[in-house]
């Protein structure tokens, strides 16, 4: 018994010493990356930085953004790794981000880097709008395959289109802000008025429309390409359509939270996020990544997506977000009679 | 009680006690002295303040004003746990999940007694209350009377200086009640413990108490021995509440005289000015029946005070077992009746019958006069 206890204590001490040696710093990292990707990201990072432990705090984009803003005066996070750029802009405008130019940032596609110098955030990969269309249900209902945003306003799609609510979903907001950029303010709203006629309802989440299209609940879901590819891989009978006018996009980006107690470790992590290795890691799920030339095609990803990406003005989106949402709410927010 | 102040200090001394619940004043200026070893009953109708007074003595509901001294110690503001008493409630308040033994032993624990001592003491207590073999049972397995004895055993286990009984017998049925009355009294005498019992049952008070404290509307109406309060009630309330009493409207006459509907009668004395509205009172058993030879001098049926004799009609007779209750009518009572209790003997001897006439006397020494309340 005694012997056993001694062994146990010895083992515990050894384990403690081991973790102590390996993990000198623990970083609290807020993220909105898909849960299933997190262990892989942390593992890859730890290959080159075994001394930094990543403690993930993961939630949907909205929740994480709300959390960060709520903690404005008492930040809990050291680093944000994988949050929508629009959200990071919001944090930046609150002065919550620590500007830092990671080593090798010059290698990145400049589209993916904050314009300030030093940049407050750096991008990782892009997240592109797309339309998921259920082929089985479309056929049943005799719907044509849409090819453009404008097509979706056709009366034949009435009640057969579903999209995320921009007020609660980042994907929804990138759709709306891209339409305003593609069509211009006035025509953009006119477009949404027409589209609204066909919308069955607005979901809270950005991936739900594509999943619903995949399950045939609503045949056409305005969502994002990454989700579409996944649903298709899971066996959903869907076609991923890239509208011809061009598609909105947002990127997942990373930043150091101002006031972190571990600035050096945080910088190391940000340095890692812009490496080629990191972009290769992102490329498993995302077809568009920040490091030029590494992107390999992702299975089921629609072709021509890269070219369809509009020249997104993130500053416009961030600075007009409140106004756009207010306008959107007053136009479509209270569809209190869903019949 | 004014002259009591010269006596040596009693065991329990209550002075100028007031208790208010918000605006309602439940006890008014109560002063009372209880001697060591006395058995005192607080008697009165419900709501008279008797339980409130008991709880003030125990410290369970603190009085608003006034002092309580116990054994020469001022306990006025002490919590119950720092006073010295055992208490028994109407509900027994036995701990339902503990055996009888452990209930009785409850107060003995943590008092420096050894387990064996406690065991011995519990056994002797159970012996004392006549339930030596019930120790392992739970309270719910005993009858009400047995439970109350256990509650008593628990209350006296620690040898308290004062035993408080809050209507201990009211939840029991009549037979058990009568039986337990004697047992409690017996026990109290044996232990010599000063005891205060609250009851609304006059019979209980009369049979058990050394002295009775009659209370009404938050004041003490009278304090005295059972015979005192029965024979010499000081107020109409006491007269009415304890035993039965004929109450006849009358007016005060001259010295030791009263006027009942035109008939002037004699009584021992009264303090009222002439013409004052009073109530003449006499207990039914004190009305003396007389036969034909009542007015003959020297007879064994001689009327004591001629002025107090009345020729009455026997309106109704009700047989109540050991005596007859007769409803008597006379012009001086107006519409009222005089009730009289006559022994079987007397009824047979004097041939009292419904519809007949007879002579009765309201003896001078038993006839009382009280102030007539207005309205």
């Amino acid at each position: 018994m005694n012997q056993f206890r001694k062994t146990l204590i010895g083992a515990a001490a050894a384990a403690l010493a081991a973790t102590g040696a390996l993990a000198e710093t623990e970083l609290t990292v807020y993220t909105a990356i898909e849960a299933e990707d997190l262990p892989r990201y942390a593992e890859t990072f730890n290959k080159s930085h075994p001394d930094i432990t990543v403690n993930w705090v993961r939630d949907s984009t909205g929740v994480i953004t709300a959390k960060l803003l709520a903690e404005k005066d008492n930040p809990q996070a050291d680093v944000v790794w994988g949050l929508a750029a629009t959200s990071l802009l919001l944090l930046k405008s609150e002065g919550m981000l620590e500007p830092y130019a990671p080593a090798g940032v010059d290698e990145l596609d400049p589209k993916f880097v904050d314009k300030d110098n030093p940049p407050a955030w750096v991008g990782m990969d892009a997240w592109v709008a797309a339309v998921c269309v259920n082929t089985i249900e479309s056929e049943k209902l005799g719907l044509d395959m849409p090819s453009s945003w404008k097509d979706l306003t056709d009366p034949q799609y009435e009640g057969h289109v579903i999209m995320p609510n921009p007020a609660s979903s980042g994907t929804g907001f990138l759709d709306v802000s891209s339409w305003l950029q593609i069509f211009g303010e006035e025509e953009g709203w006119a477009y949404m008025d027409a589209l609204h006629e066909n919308i069955a309802r607005y979901t809270h989440s950005g991936s739900a429309p594509c999943k619903m299209a995949a399950s045939g609940e609503i045949p056409i879901g305005i969502s994002f390409a990454f989700r579409g590819a996944k649903s298709k891989a899971a066996g959903g009978p869907i076609e991923i359509v890239v509208p011809s006018e061009g598609v909105g996009w947002d990127m997942e980006a990373s930043a150091i939270v101002a006031g972190t107690a571990h600035p050096e470790a945080a910088q190391k992590l940000i340095d890692f996020t812009v490496t080629k290795e990191a972009s290769e890691m992102y490329n498993v799920g995302y077809a568009v990544v920040a490091y030029p030339g590494v992107a390999k095609p992702v299975e089921h990803f629609p072709e021509g997506l890269l070219d369809a990406m509009i020249d997104n003005d993130f500053e416009f989106a961030a600075n007009n977000r409140a106004r756009i949402l207010e306008e959107w709410q007053s136009r479509y927010g209270s569809k209190s009679d869903p019949q | 009680m004014r002259d009591a102040e010269h006596r040596p200090d009693p065991y329990l001394k209550i002075e100028n006690l007031w208790k208010a619940f918000g605006k309602f004043v439940a006890l008014r200026d109560i002063s009372l002295r209880i001697e060591d070893g006395e058995f005192i009953c607080f008697l009165g109708p419900s709501g008279c303040g008797k339980t409130t007074l008991l709880r003030a003595i125990a410290g369970l509901d603190l009085q608003t004003r006034g002092t309580v001294e116990q054994g020469g110690r001022d306990v006025s503001n002490l919590p119950p746990s720092q006073r010295d008493f055992g208490i028994v409630f109407q509900s027994y308040a036995l701990f339902p999940n503990l055996t009888i033994e452990r209930n009785v032993a409850y107060g003995l624990e943590n008092t420096g007694r050894s387990k064996a001592e406690i065991k011995e003491r519990v056994a002797s207590l159970l012996q004392l209350v006549g339930l030596p073999d019930q120790g392992r049972k739970y309270p719910a397995q005993l009858s009400g009377g047995q439970q109350q004895r256990i509650a008593l055993a628990r209350a006296i286990a620690t040898n308290p200086g004062l035993l408080l009984l809050d209507e201990p017998l009211s939840a029991l049925d009549a037979k058990v009640r009568v039986h337990l009355r004697h047992e409690i009294k017996e026990l109290q005498r044996k232990l010599g413990v000063t005891t205060v019992m609250v009851t609304h049952d006059q019979e209980e008070a009369l049979t058990m108490a050394d002295r009775i404290v009659v209370m009404n509307h938050g004041v003490i109406e009278q304090v005295g021995t059972p015979t005192d309060v029965y024979r010499r009630p000081q107020t109409l309330f006491v007269a009415d509440f304890i035993g039965e009493m004929n109450q006849i409207p009358a007016t005060a006459g001259g010295e030791a005289q009263i006027d009942i509907g035109g008939v002037v009668m004699q009584l021992a004395s009264h303090d009222f000015p002439k013409g004052h509205a009073i109530v003449a009172a006499i207990r039914p058993e004190d009305v003396i029946p007389h036969g034909a030879r009542a007015h003959e001098p020297g007879g064994d049926d001689k009327i004591e005070t001629e002025a107090n004799a009345l020729e009455v009609d026997v309106a109704e007779m009700e047989f109540l077992g050991s005596f007859w209750r007769c409803t008597l009518k006379h012009a001086c009572f107006k519409d009222g009746n005089l009730y009289a209790d006559f022994s079987m003997n007397a009824v047979r001897r004097l041939d009292v019958r419904e519809g007949g006439r007879m002579t009765v006397e309201l003896p001078k020494s038993r006839l009382m006069a009280f102030d007539r309340p207005e309205g």
Binding site: S93, I136, N165, S169, E217, K335 | D29, I87, F95, N110
Partner: protein, 670 residues
């Protein structure tokens, strides 16, 4: 006796000396009172102050200088307020903004052109004035010189102030304030439907001689074991566009009021059933005998005896259901579609738009009807006590083939509805890819591959349930004991009692949001519990405090009032009495409280949805989030896991109760 004798003499009231027990009990009561203060009152206060925290554009705080065409020679500084007085760009409610509000500056310069060579200088004349260039924050009073192309990117930020501006905005925005009407409508309709259904069900169980009453009773209680949003998931499978029974709706849409009402009926049914069943069980047989002897028809007897006898139960059930529906968040979130209700609005404002102030405003709006329903319910229940205490003879139904079979069929329909919903969820959880691949698989149970927290969330929920049950029961029962049995200290007890009743009137969403405001404040010494399991336990205990407290209080009131007096007279510490007598005697109630807390901790979504962190994700929240992400089948699977866990806990509770009661409550049997 003179009048003077009736008035108490002048002087000081006697103040009792406190015994050690009194001190301990008061100190404990203060501790638990402080717990409630910290876990409820202060957070609510924080929320209330958040709702009146507005953001206003203070135009006088920003100054600008404009150069001539040469780009030198700047004009005198002028404030934006002066410019606005000239142009009237911003008016009335436009001054009020959210914390994220921005105001572009170019609109103050009608002839602005971003190509012109004109230069601009801008500064705030207050140290804390804030403006953005692009998205870079500038503070301080330094002048900043910008060319016109950059100047157009300048956005003014609002200043925090206090006032009712948020409420004005709320009520002048139909998209928001319409929810009040929607919420009330849904709650009223659900209340009417649930109470009617539950009444006849309870009637069948109490007043007929049909068979299988035990089974029906068991089925009726099942919905308590699942999160309120689970019926929503089943409804999607039943009446969604790919639903089995879609045709039944005749083209109507399940996403919206219809879905919310059906789901609400499901999850509120047991609550209404218990209350009404209790009311029917106490009805007096003598009244029925009287009615029969007066040769009244069955129908007349029903209306003159049955309904009046159960009226307090009916009213109470109605208020409870109303309150449950109007404060429920999970169900409308899942099946509400575009139909906005207050509880979901709070979520949308906070999580979707990060508009905490507006979230607080909606919370305040939601508290009002909930508070009203709660107050009315308490009032009605206080009246019912008198009815209960009357001595009555229990009613024994007599067999009647016709009515018994009608009631049997009716009860079967209700049972099919309840069991059907659960069965659909279980079916959904097992199907591989609805509706295209109907083969069974356990793929949907691979929670670790979905968002929401995975299997860890499930085990977190069990942990939360156990901690809540243990810690909550201890606090609640001890608190109730203190408030019931301590001496004097009336003010303290009244305040405590008030605190203990409050949580029932506070919707979970409101409590959760209030916790963010209160506990996430870095100056709060309790800040360290934010994001931990502790805050979830505290929040859940507080959320379900009232019912637990009432259960404890009822049990304690059935104890002899004089135990404490006896104990004191025997000079034994009160805490000995508490542990030796009170706790063992009240053990059945204590077990009831712990299972109630456990089941609710497993199913609650509303309060904890704002408070969980990555490490403390919960099963119920996972159901919500998986459904939100479109992973409906795994959501159903997790929901059913909660159901089975709760059902298992209930069975364990039953066995434990029997065992413990058998051992410790031997005294109950003669």
């Amino acid at each position: 006796m003179s009048d003077a004798a009736y008035t108490i003499p002048e002087g000081k009231n006697i103040k009792g000396k406190l015994s050690r027990d009194d001190l301990i009990m008061r100190a404990s009561m203060i501790v638990i009172g402080l717990y409630l203060l910290v876990s409820m009152v202060l957070p609510l206060y924080a929320m209330l102050s958040k709702s009146v925290s507005t953001f206003r554009f203070d135009l006088a705080a920003f100054e600008v200088q404009v150069s001539d065409e040469s780009g030198a020679n700047f004009s005198e500084p002028v404030t934006f307020e002066t410019l606005n007085e000239r142009l009237g760009v911003v008016e009335g409610l436009d001054f009020i903004a959210g914390s994220d509000g921005r105001l572009g500056v170019t609109q103050f310069f009608p002839d602005f052109s971003f190509r012109s060579p004109v230069m601009y200088r801008i500064r705030s004349n207050q140290e804390d004035g804030r403006f953005l260039v692009g998205s870079t924050l500038h503070t301080g009073t330094e002048w900043l010189e910008l060319d016109s192309n950059t100047f157009r990117r300048v956005q003014l930020r609002p200043e925090q102030s206090y006032g009712l501006g948020n409420f004005k905005t709320y009520f002048s925005t139909p998209a928001l304030s319409d929810s009040i009407k929607n919420s009330v409508m849904i709650a009223v309709i659900s209340t009417i439907v649930t109470v009617s259904l539950a009444f006849w069900f309870a009637y069948a169980l109490n007043r007929s001689c049909m068979r299988f009453k035990g089974v029906f009773r068991l089925i009726a209680m099942a919905p308590i074991l699942v999160p309120s949003l689970l019926p929503g998931i089943a409804l999607v499978y039943l009446f969604g566009n790919q639903g089995f029974l879609k045709e039944l709706l005749m083209g109507a849409e399940i996403y919206g009021p219809i879905g919310i009402v059906i789901g609400s009926v499901f999850f509120t049914f047991p609550h209404a059933f218990i209350i009404i069943s209790t009311a029917l069980a106490i009805s007096d047989a003598r009244l029925y005998e009287a009615s029969v002897s007066l040769k009244a028809s069955a129908w007349r007897t029903f209306w003159t005896v049955t309904v009046p006898g159960a009226r307090y139960g009916l009213v109470s059930a109605a208020f409870v259901v109303f309150n449950l529906v109007i404060t429920d968040f999970g169900l409308p979130k899942v099946i509400g579609g575009q139909f906005n209700v207050l509880a979901v609005d709070i979520y949308k404002q906070v999580i979707g738009q990060q508009n905490f102030e507006m979230g607080a405003v909606v919370s305040v709006v939601l508290v009002l009807p909930a508070l009203l329903a709660f107050a009315l319910d308490r009032y009605v229940q206080s009246k019912q006590v008198a009815l209960l205490s009357a001595r009555s003879v229990p009613y024994e139904p007599t067999p009647n083939r016709r009515t018994d079979s009608i009631f049997f069929v009716y009860s079967c329909l209700v049972a099919v509805f309840i069991v059907g919903i659960l069965a659909v969820c279980q079916f959904a959880a097992l199907v591989k890819f609805w509706p295209y691949d109907l083969s069974f698989s356990l793929n949907n149970y691979r929670f670790n591959r979905m968002d929401g927290g995975g299997w860890a969330a499930y085990f977190n929920s069990i942990k939360l349930g156990l901690l809540t049950a243990v810690f909550g029961t201890a606090v609640v029962f001890f608190g109730a004991y203190l408030v019931e049995k301590s001496n004097g200290f009336r003010t303290g007890r009244t305040i405590f009692q008030m605190f203990a009743m409050m949580p029932m009137a506070i919707p979970g969403m409101v409590l959760g949001l209030a916790y963010i405001f209160f506990f996430n404040n870095p100056e709060n010494p309790f800040n360290f519990i934010y994001g931990t399991m502790t805050i979830l336990v505290v929040c859940t205990v507080t959320h379900f405090y009232t019912v637990s407290h009432l259960t404890a209080t009822t049990a304690l009131q059935q104890m002899d009032r004089e135990f404490e007096s006896v104990s004191a007279s025997l000079k034994q510490p009160t805490l000995k009495l508490f542990s030796r007598v009170t706790v063992p005697v009240c053990l059945p109630a204590i077990l009831d409280i712990s299972i109630y807390l456990f089941v609710n901790a497993m199913t609650t979504v509303s309060a904890v949805v704002f408070l969980y962190s990555h490490d403390t994700a919960l099963a119920s929240v996972a159901v919500l989030n998986m459904d939100d992400a479109g992973d409906i089948a795994p959501a159903a699977a997790m929901g059913m896991m909660i159901f089975y866990t709760n059902a298992g806990a209930r069975i364990l509770h039953l066995i434990a109760s029997r065992g413990i009661i058998g051992r410790t409550q031997a005294w109950r049997h003669r």
